[in-house]
């Protein structure tokens, strides 16, 4: 049994300009104590994908497909039932630590709120539990710090508070939506290290959303590469990094300047990410792909599994042809 199973998920938004197809035909699953990274550029639908799991999508969204948590369908559940899953079973860490904490409430109240609401603890018990959790995310002097307000914390500390908040109800799955984009490299390294230890200690599964390929190689077992609302490649992180099989993944890896290499000029992917209103008929990457053939423009490529590494790829061009 899979912990989380997503089948044929489609998300679209009705807007005055037309229908925005944010996520198309996405399939993946997550086991216990697993870690998955979702990589993609802005507008590739990665955030909408995880928002749909927790029912956080905007009102004009239409979702089809199935999302199963421990074999129980959770897509389009009513609010009251979803609230039993949110935070208790699946919790989320939002992108911006500055804006996702309430500036009018001290950290203690914000943390306790979760416990009182979901676990029915008393105020005193909740505070003790909150302090314990702040200790777990390595906030020094948690006993006094818990009475502080968000503006008294630095960016990295606020992100730790958010992580502590997500951990309070011992969820099975933590979703982290770009947890380190607004942080410095040194702080980023600390936060990622924290994710790894938490995963071991609390035995949770992790879904990490990011656009930085560098950070996932350290943290996640599996990687899912998204582009224009579709999965481009899905497999073990190691395989995807060392033997990418999709032109987009190859391009992404090449555009990142690596510290241990010398370059004359950086390789680029020409063009711009697609507008979700006008996603190409065939492969969404076809506009920018240097390998494209006629069929790429007219038909969505089928999912192909590579025998040796169990990588899933969505591309018309055979893997062997890309290497030459």
């Amino acid at each position: 049994m899979h912990l989380l199973e997503i089948n044929n998920l489609n998300i679209s938004f009705d807007t005055p300009e037309g229908k925005v197809r944010a996520v198309n035909e996405v399939n993946f699953n997550l086991q216990n104590n697993d870690s998955l990274a979702i990589v993609g550029e802005s507008g590739s639908g990665k955030t909408q994908l995880v928002f749909s799991i927790l029912g956080l999508l905007a009102k004009n969204a239409a979702v089809t497909g199935s999302i199963k948590y421990q074999s129980q369908e959770i897509l389009n559940l009513p609010e009251e039932k979803l609230n039993n899953i949110r935070s208790k079973k699946i919790s989320i860490i939002f992108q911006d630590p500055m804006t996702s904490l309430n500036p009018y409430m001290c950290i203690r109240d914000q943390l306790n709120e979760v416990l009182i609401h979901h676990k029915g603890l008393s105020k005193h018990e909740a505070t003790n539990e909150s302090i314990r959790m702040l200790d777990a995310v390595k906030i020094v002097d948690a006993k006094n710090r818990i009475n502080m307000f968000p503006h008294e914390f630095s960016g990295g500390m606020r992100q730790r508070v958010m992580i502590a908040m997500a951990l309070l109800c011992n969820p099975n799955i933590i979703i982290a939506d770009e947890p380190t984009t607004s942080l410095d490299v040194t702080v980023e390294a600390q936060i990622l290290e924290l994710f790894k230890t938490i995963q071991k200690e609390f035995n949770t599964s992790l879904i990490l959303i990011t656009h930085n390929m560098g950070i996932i190689s350290d943290t996640c077992k599996k990687t899912l590469v998204m582009y224009g609302g579709r999965i481009m490649e899905y497999g073990f992180t190691k395989d995807i990094f060392l033997n990418p099989t999709h032109p987009y993944t190859m391009g992404l890896l090449e555009t990142m300047p690596s510290i241990d290499k010398e370059y004359k000029i950086l390789k680029t992917i020409p063009g711009n990410p697609p507008n979700a209103l006008e996603i190409p008929l065939g492969c969404p990457f076809s506009d920018r792909c240097s390998h494209k053939i006629d069929i790429c423009l007219s038909a969505v490529p089928p999912v192909e599994t590579i025998d040796t590494t169990k990588q899933n790829r969505m591309c018309h061009i055979p893997y062997q042809d890309l290497l030459s």
Partner: protein, 276 residues
Amino acid sequence: MIKSKTILSVENIKVQYETNNQFIFPWQKRNIIKAVDGVSFDLKEGETLGIVGETGCGKSTLARAIIKMVPTCSGKIIWMGENLLTFNKNKMKKIRKEIQMIFQDPLASLNPRMNIGEIISEPIKTHFPEISKIELKNIVKEMMLKVGLLPNLINRYPHEFSGGQCQRIGIARALILQPKLIICDEPVSSLDVSIQAQVINLLKSIQKNLNLSLIFITHDLSIAKHVSDKIIVLYFGKAVEMNLSKELFSNPQNSYTKKLISSIPSFRNSFLTNNY
């Protein structure tokens, strides 16, 4: 290598801010924040200087101090043999033609009420008011082509462009006066990965063609290594290390530099050591 002349040399520059911590009497000593604390460097023609460091270490303040956007309390900024700090407003205006800046947030640094043509041509209108409208339009179109924008977009407004295109507009605006030095304050940090490389390549090719000097501020060390000849590492306003970029990465001297370099996530090494 041909010996090129030094165009900018900064000597022991200091920028300080006074803050009132809480209620304070006028005779009491005020808190002083040293944003930039004694940084010196030389910049040659056609050279790129990278400034790296974490948030709040004074990277942007240093850049702004060089073009006198923030007041400097001591030190010397010598541009082509003359100290900028002794200049008055009128004299400074002439220098501003030669030093231009590209800002961090591409969309926020463009006026939403002006179309692209107006934005790009504004520096020329201020500095060379005698140029005719038709001529101006041609210059702008030429510049747009140079930075990879189609000239028929000249009447569009900034919100109609993507982040990468907005940054190209910012670059066009900086280049149009044919400056000798461009200060880039995190020009790619708010762009997508695949677009970042495009913008960096554009900057580098323009630099080669026009023999520009660049000051490139970034917090991404791998980008800094790729673009710059020399790198300064800032830490709390102090330059803790300055070296040629190759040597800085192969042989870091300062402990803070070492820490910075070791915290860059690099996937090529991590598979060797990591079992998740």
